[in-house]
């Protein structure tokens, strides 16, 4: 259709930035929340991403598979924010390797003890580890998909995932007895 319109010299009406982003905004916020661990920082991260994408509209409109591309942009913004915070120890007393105090706000959504336990444990991970756990174990992205999104070799991802899981299993109270095991 667009080819026909183009052939006839009729310019197809472009979707607005708002219309392009609207279907994805909820999912982006969800992942941003899982990265940062609280609503305030998630909104900041999302706002930052939207400002960045707004300047990349021409590129944005050319992307065929928008969801993974947006995930990639969000991941890069998260790493960027993490790195900037890490380089400003005067403002935030941040450990070199961890983002422990980077996301310290507590909001109403974390009143649930189990969630708080998980988010606290995730705060102890490095940014890359946190991202791989968020996208793989929570959001169900496969490792090959993550390799594209995070621009990281599979081996590195597997290693990060293994270390992150080991750290999380230490900090999260896991009760195998709760499992409904019928037989092996």
């Amino acid at each position: 259709m667009s080819q026909i319109l183009s052939f006839l010299g009729i310019k197809e009406k472009e979707q607005s930035f708002e219309a392009i982003m609207s279907p994805h905004i909820s999912n982006l916020f969800k992942v941003a929340y899982q990265y940062t661990g609280n609503k305030h920082d998630a909104e900041d991260l999302l706002q930052d991403l939207l400002e960045y994408l707004f300047t990349k509209q021409t590129e944005l409109r050319k992307i065929e598979k928008l969801k993974p591309w947006l995930m990639r942009c969000l991941y890069n913004r998260f790493i960027d924010v993490y790195r900037k915070k890490k380089r400003q120890p005067d403002l935030e007393d941040i450990d070199d390797e961890k983002i422990h105090s980077l996301f310290h706000h507590v909001d109403n959504h974390q009143k649930n003890e189990q969630n708080e336990e998980i988010y606290n444990a995730m705060n102890k991970l490095s940014a890359d580890q946190r991202a791989v756990v968020t996208l793989h174990d929570i959001n169900g992205y496969t490792l090959p998909e993550l390799s594209e999104i995070m621009d990281t070799p599979l081996g590195t991802l597997k290693s990060n995932l293994h270390r992150a899981r080991a750290a999380l299993k230490q900090h999260i109270n896991l009760q195998p007895s709760e499992l409904n095991v019928h037989r092996y």
Binding site: K13, E14, S16, F17, E18, M21, S22, I25, S26, F29, K30, Y33, Q34, K39, E43, L46, Q47, L50, E51, Y52, F54, T55, K56, Q57, T58, E59, R72, N76, R77, I79, D80, R83, K84, R87, Q88, H109, N112, Q114, N115, I118, V133, D137, I138, G140, D151, H162, R165, L168, K169, I172, L174, Q175, P176, E178, L179, N180, V181, H182, R183, Y184
Partner: protein, 254 residues
């Protein structure tokens, strides 16, 4: 099948796989099944992993309300003409099609030169001591000014410049500072930054010295190694010396 291999297999299983397996719905992997039936440790590992994945999949994430989404996106509303923007993002201006790095690699030539005189603090500059102490070595320093000239292909706002000095080099007036960070707004074209530095001549002689510089912009970073040849500086005229800039590494994250 040994425990290590079983652990690797367990690690690769998804929550659905493990649940199906534990509920007896999957008899495909008989080797795994046989091992887990007989190995207490691996059985425990499987249960733990299942509990972990179960917990992670049930993590609560608040919904972004439609109203919040609308408010946030409304800041970016604009007409069909992409240039008609009614959002204040002046600190991060719109860019053209080409990515930052394509342009940056092509056009960025970081030239470094040294201006101004360098002075050797020798005994003539030091006030005459009241007591002659032959065994005290007077430190000798070379002071000079390093001027970084960064040619940016386009306006690069909110970039971060990080400079790490070697031990033998200090920023004049800041002896203890080995790492420096600046938030810089680079304009398209040449951008200059002057750094008055002091090189300890005793420790620097016959040693390769490098100043490491990193430029961060959005998710990309560019690293440079600025080599300082002390002997060359000394051999040159006192008011003209040149340092070589060698791009060392280019780390790209799209």
């Amino acid at each position: 099948m040994n425990c290590k291999r079983v652990n690797n297999t367990i690690e690769a299983l998804t929550l659905a796989n493990i649940t199906t397996y534990l509920e007896g719905g999957n008899d495909d992997n008989s080797e795994l099944k046989t091992h887990i039936e007989t190995c207490t440790q691996c059985k425990k590992t499987l249960h733990e992993h299942h509990a972990y994945l179960n917990k992670m999949s049930n993590i609560h994430t608040p919904e972004f309300s439609k109203n919040d989404a609308k408010v946030m996106l409304s800041k970016f509303s604009h007409t069909a003409d992409n240039n008609a923007v009614n959002v204040n993002i002046h600190n991060k201006p719109a860019k053209n099609d080409s990515s930052f790095f394509q342009g940056f690699i092509a056009a960025s030539v970081l030239a470094l030169s040294v201006f101004g005189a360098w002075n050797v603090f020798n005994n003539t500059d030091v006030p005459a001591p009241l007591v002659v102490q032959n065994n005290i070595t007077v430190p000798e320093y070379i002071t000079t000014e390093v001027v970084l000239v960064i040619n940016a292909p386009e306006d690069m706002f909110d970039a971060d410049l990080n400079i790490v000095l070697p031990q033998q080099v200090a920023l004049e007036g800041y002896d203890d500072l080995q790492e420096l960070n600046w938030a810089v707004d680079l304009k398209a074209g040449a951008n200059t930054l002057s750094l008055p530095i002091r090189v300890n001549k005793h420790h620097a002689i016959n040693q390769p010295l490098s100043i490491m510089a990193k430029l961060y912009h959005y998710a990309e970073e560019r690293e440079f190694e600025i080599k300082i040849d002390v002997e060359k500086i000394q051999s040159e005229q006192k008011n003209s010396a040149y340092l070589n800039l060698v791009p060392k590494n280019n780390i790209t994250r799209v």
